[in-house]
């Protein structure tokens, strides 16, 4: 099976979001990035092996760096890395295929549901769902916390003047969490469109 066929058989757990994301674009935007390929490596040898593959390895825990061909790598544990492609057509398959049997780390299948949250209402959305103060968090450092009761990794990023939050979580919670966030996002949107008193 070739590359394009493989993509076509994959399905995002957040598929249902697509329509809603547009509707709430004004205050909070929710974009589904689940179909970007992901890959992980865990174990003492992971960092050096990634470095040999030309990956700029984040030195401190929870730091992130761009991948050479787009996408990013996040150090999600002392010896654990999470990689995500930057484009739908970017493949990380080569990483997995190259791991030798003798490697002293384990390749990890990552199928996280992934969101990008944008807009001036992002922090209001988190205020209703997360007990950790994200507004005080540094950029490009992943935060493991809970959003609406689900364990998530959240990466605050700035693109230009805009703040955005990348959120990854177990795909089995995708429908629940996606719907909960969408509901709040639309309420924030409605509240913003009401004439102020």
């Amino acid at each position: 099976m070739n590359r394009s066929e493989r993509v076509s058989t994959r399905q995002s757990p957040l598929q249902f979001l697509a329509a809603g994301a547009v509707a709430t674009n004004r205050v909070v935007g929710l974009a589904d990035l689940s179909l970007l390929e992901k890959w992980g490596a865990k174990g003492p040898g992971a960092a050096s092996w990634l470095a040999e593959r030309g990956v700029e390895v984040p030195q401190s825990i929870y730091a992130s760096r761009p991948l050479p061909e787009g996408g990013l790598v996040v150090r999600v544990g002392s010896d654990e890395f999470f990689l995500e492609a930057g484009q739908l057509d970017q493949s990380l398959a080569s990483f997995g295929e190259l791991v030798p049997a003798s490697a002293d780390f384990t390749p990890v299948i990552r199928e996280d549901a992934a969101l990008r949250i944008t807009g001036r209402g992002s922090l209001d959305l988190f205020a209703q769902t997360c007990g950790h103060p994200l507004q005080q968090s540094p950029m490009d450092q992943i935060i493991f916390t809970r959003v609406a009761g689900v364990s998530c990794g959240i990466l605050p990023q700035s693109s230009g003047d805009e703040l955005q939050y990348r959120v990854w979580f177990d795909p089995s919670y995708a429908v629940y969490l996606g719907e909960a966030l969408l509901q709040i996002a639309s309420e924030l949107d409605n509240a913003a469109s009401e004439p102020s008193v």
């Binding site: 493991f144 916390t145 364990s151």
Partner: protein, 95 residues
Amino acid sequence: MKIIHCPVNGPRPLQEFYFGGQFRAVPTSEQEDAMTDAEWSDYAFNRDGSPGIQKEWWYHTPSGTWFIAERDIVTDVFVRTYLFDQADQESGNDG
């Protein structure tokens, strides 16, 4: 709502944590074999639940981090928290 300082993730609200009970050194297989039934049942069942500072396990769920806390179980003050291995280095015991 308690704030607990995870040694890896920093201060977080209680909801992100799971309480893992009192810390107890696990007997090695040799020690275990040498224990009488009474000594084993004492280890298996009995706890030191008396007032004071208790060494205990906590788990930060979103990141999957186990760590040790020393907490006053009367005032609920966390005296300190550290990773299991760090405790080992600091106190030099065999865990």
